[in-house]
């Protein structure tokens, strides 16, 4: 074993967790609560809950340019800005400097991320939905991708465990295609959202509008270190109330409380060390970004929670005689089958009603329309799988006057009042697993640490395009039926990555010839390496995935802890 580490620092642990985002935080908590000595490695800087949220109280007038960036600054984050909402003064510090973290795009791919303790759990949109049997059976039934080695019933106790800890606000509806979570009270629909719900209920018998399901706290339950949402809708900045779920506010503190966690930021894991004799992983290679040292840490179990793409990069780079194409890559599927949700398709409208009504508070969720197409995987449309719809209603502000030429006192007075009610529907569609959608290591272009960068070759294909046509039509039909005016459908170009739900690079499956992981998220041929971030997904469903990532992680971590206690991973 290499001996580059300083003699002071502990090198040997029971388990190493790579990453501190949504899944890394859960792995840390579960493993630590099971009594395992856990090293948690994060490539980015430390972010302490509350004390490291510099913009959490800022108003637009606190910024010289109202939150917009100076043009020289903007040039550093042009790719991160492709979402349209990530790069402003309130949140840009959570997203990478694109010049320092470049990647190649064979086809356009919007790789949106930040490197810091908490990862995307600090910036996520918090929409939280369970998957159903329809979702887990889809690959088997329509033949795209490989069969999931698990079903919904395998995850039910873990969804429950996760939801009790996280707190998901929502309302039970008893829908088989979108199972209910254990909910805290829902955030009520406003006047116009209720009109939409009523209008759809009256005019359609195959679909409905429900309350949003969001990982922000409501209700009376006590959760350590957290309190209820104050309806400021500034979640992306980090919350002074710990009201939304993030690793920083919840799972990492829980892990910390056990006394079993060693959290080491500024530590880039770039390779997993494989021992050919034991046929097991034995540790990781790390670059310390402060001291620039090359270090090694050892453990009986490794959890890959670095995020779909970084995990793929680490596994691809971890070459050995046994695994010349990357750790666990017997199947050739590592880095392939990339999926993301496609969106930016739907409709907008205005309501002529409720002129004398308004709302108080800025809730962090709106309404949701569960998937109603091809239920039970029956092929009823010219596409397979389906989409959900997310949206909300609000009254317009001064921006309604932008495309006009009015001026003077009358305009000034008018813009002090709220404008008409607007409603918008945005559809999120499932993406099929295509082998050719892939990420590869680029050994020609190295980053500042001498590590290979990534090259993306991903596109949405015909099934996704046909689905989008239907999504726009249905959004228009539903808004019209509900009595709204000025209904306009829209379809904007949407590129993979922009949904920030990228997944699939190390998929689970029954057959080691066509998948990387087994039913417990272990690499088939290297059972002491678990992958539980988005990389593990065999299909994408249409639901926001993070709740399912957390659930898979909690399940896998408890499996790993059991294996550890039975001394299944011997001889290290």
């Amino acid at each position: 074993m290499a001996d580059n580490n300083s003699t002071e620092e502990k090198q040997n642990f029971d388990v190493i967790v790579i990453g501190t985002g949504v899944t890394g935080g859960w792995a840390a908590k579960e493993l630590c609560e099971n009594g395992l000595n856990t090293l948690v490695l994060e490539r980015g800087r430390m972010v302490e809950h509350i004390t490291d949220y510099p913009t959490m109280y800022d108003d637009p007038w606190d910024y010289e340019f109202k939150g917009e960036l100076k043009r020289e600054e903007a040039k550093k984050q042009l790719k991160q800005a492709r979402t349209g909402y990530t790069i402003n003064e309130a949140s840009k510090h959570w997203f990478v400097n694109d010049l320092e973290h470049p990647y190649e795009e064979t086809k356009r791919f919007d790789w949106i991320r930040g490197y810091h303790v908490g990862g995307k759990s600090l910036m996520w949109a918090r929409m939280s939905f369970r998957w159903s049997d329809m979702d887990f059976e889809a690959n088997l039934k329509d033949g795209h991708g490989v069969d999931w080695p698990i079903r919904y019933k395998d995850l039910v106790p873990w969804y429950e465990k996760v939801e009790k800890f996280v707190g998901i606000s929502g309302k039970s509806e008893g829908l088989s295609q979108l199972p209910d979570s254990i909910f805290t009270p829902p955030m009520e629909l406003n006047c116009v959202e209720k009109d939409f719900q009523d209008g759809v209920a009256q005019n359609f018998d195959d679909r409905m509008v429900i309350h949003g399901r969001v990982a922000n706290l409501t209700g009376d339950e006590l959760r350590e270190g957290r309190s209820n949402c104050q309806y400021r809708n500034r979640c992306i900045r980090g919350c002074p109330y710990g009201a939304y779920f993030s690793s920083n506010a919840s799972t990492l503190p829980a892990a910390e409380r056990t006394g079993n966690m060693t959290l080491r930021p500024n530590s880039i894991v770039h390779e997993i060390i494989y021992d050919e004799e034991q046929k097991l992983a034995i540790g990781v290679r790390v670059i310390d970004t402060i001291t620039h040292e090359n270090l090694e840490f050892y453990a009986k179990i490794i959890f890959c929670c670095a995020g779909t793409m970084p995990t793929a990069g680490i596994l691809l780079k971890s070459k050995s005689k046994r695994f010349p194409n990357g750790l666990g890559n017997d199947s050739g599927e590592l880095g392939h089958n990339i999926m993301d949700h496609h969106f930016k398709v739907g409709a907008t409208a205005i309501s002529e009603n409720h002129e004398e009504e308004y709302y108080k508070g800025r809730k962090p969720t709106g309404f949701f329309v569960p998937r109603f197409r091809n239920l039970d995987n029956k092929k009823e449309m010219n596409f397979v799988r389906g989409y959900g719809m997310q949206g909300g209603a609000s009254r317009t502000d001064w921006r309604r006057a932008i495309g006009e030429m009015s001026y003077g006192e009358e305009l000034k007075e008018a813009l002090l009042k709220p404008g008409e009610w607007e409603i918008g529907v945005n559809c999120f569609g499932e993406c099929l697993p295509y082998h050719e959608n892939k990420v590869t290591l680029n050994n020609e272009k190295l980053d500042e640490w001498g590590l290979p960068t990534l090259t993306f070759d991903v596109e949405f294909k015909e099934n996704e395009m046909l689905m989008r046509e239907d999504a726009e039509k249905q959004a228009v039909a539903m808004l019209k039926a509900a009595g709204f005016k000025n209904v306009k459908g829209y379809q904007e170009p949407c590129f993979p990555g922009n949904g920030i739900h990228e997944m699939g690079t190390a998929r689970m499956g029954r057959d080691p010839k066509t998948s990387v992981l087994n039913e417990n998220n272990q690499i088939h041929a290297v059972p002491n390496v678990y992958v539980t971030d988005g990389a593990c997904m065999a299909s994408s469903a249409s639901q926001n995935p993070s709740l399912t990532y957390m659930t898979l992680t909690a399940r896998a971590a408890n499996h790993a802890a059991k294996q550890f206690k039975k001394n299944k991973f011997k001889n290290i």
């Binding site: 209720k194 104050q230 002074p240 003077g408």
Partner: protein
């Protein structure tokens, strides 16, 4: 800022909800005197002209106007620091053509133009029919090069494009700076930084002016 620290301390005592503070002193984000600030981007008469236009677009009444809130300086700063090089170029050219238009109309130095004169000139551009307005908005959606390619360099359409881009930008930034200013955001619009609760359907009369956040 005292207010920030007070809010910070309160949030660390978890679960505390707050009413909007009304007792703290008001500070404007730009404190330069309206007369004496030095432009970073505007050249020649543009500071004077943009000031006249902002004053016409959002004049003072019982509530302060755009000039009271140093909106012309805000527009200058946005162009100096934030706007793209292309937008800066169009603004300069459009501003020049607008100034030229003033001279053609009034045959005097733009720096001595009165508010009434600028109002009359602005009205010749903004006081057009809805149909004409629609045509202009369609035109301004193009890149400048597309307009040149289609209508010719220095054609009437090209000149109109530049002048309207300039005027619409001054108008947009006047509204932007005004309605997102601290004075208007906290004291005139309804200010609710920490609502504490969500109510989806309440009488507008319970709230008054539009929410600022």
């Amino acid at each position: 800022m005292n207010r920030r620290n007070a809010l910070k301390k309160m949030s660390l005592a978890l679960g505390y909800t707050l009413a909007a503070p009304t007792l703290f002193s008001m500070l404007y984000s730009c404190t330069s005197e309206a007369e004496t600030w030095q432009p970073l981007f505007f050249i020649n008469n543009q500071k004077y002209i943009v000031t006249q236009l902002a004053d016409i677009i959002l004049p003072p009444n019982e509530i302060v106007g755009a000039v009271d809130l140093n909106i012309p300086e805000f527009i200058d700063k946005m162009y100096a620091n934030v706007a793209s090089e292309e937008a800066m170029d169009i603004f300069k050219k459009g501003g020049y053509l607008f100034e030229k238009s003033f001279i053609e109309h009034f045959n005097k130095d733009p720096a001595s133009g009165s508010k009434e004169e600028y109002n009359a000139l602005l009205d010749t551009y903004f006081g057009i029919s809805d149909e004409s307005q629609e045509k202009i908005f369609q035109l301004t959606k193009f890149d400048e090069q597309e307009v040149i390619d289609q209508y010719g360099l220095n054609s009437k359409n090209h000149d109109d494009y530049l002048i309207y881009k300039f005027l619409l930008s001054v108008r947009y930034h006047s509204l932007y700076g005004f309605y997102t200013s601290e004075k208007i955001g906290e004291e005139v619009l309804s200010y609710d930084p920490i609502p504490g609760t969500y109510m989806g359907c309440i009488p507008l009369s319970d709230v008054g002016n539009a929410w600022s956040l």
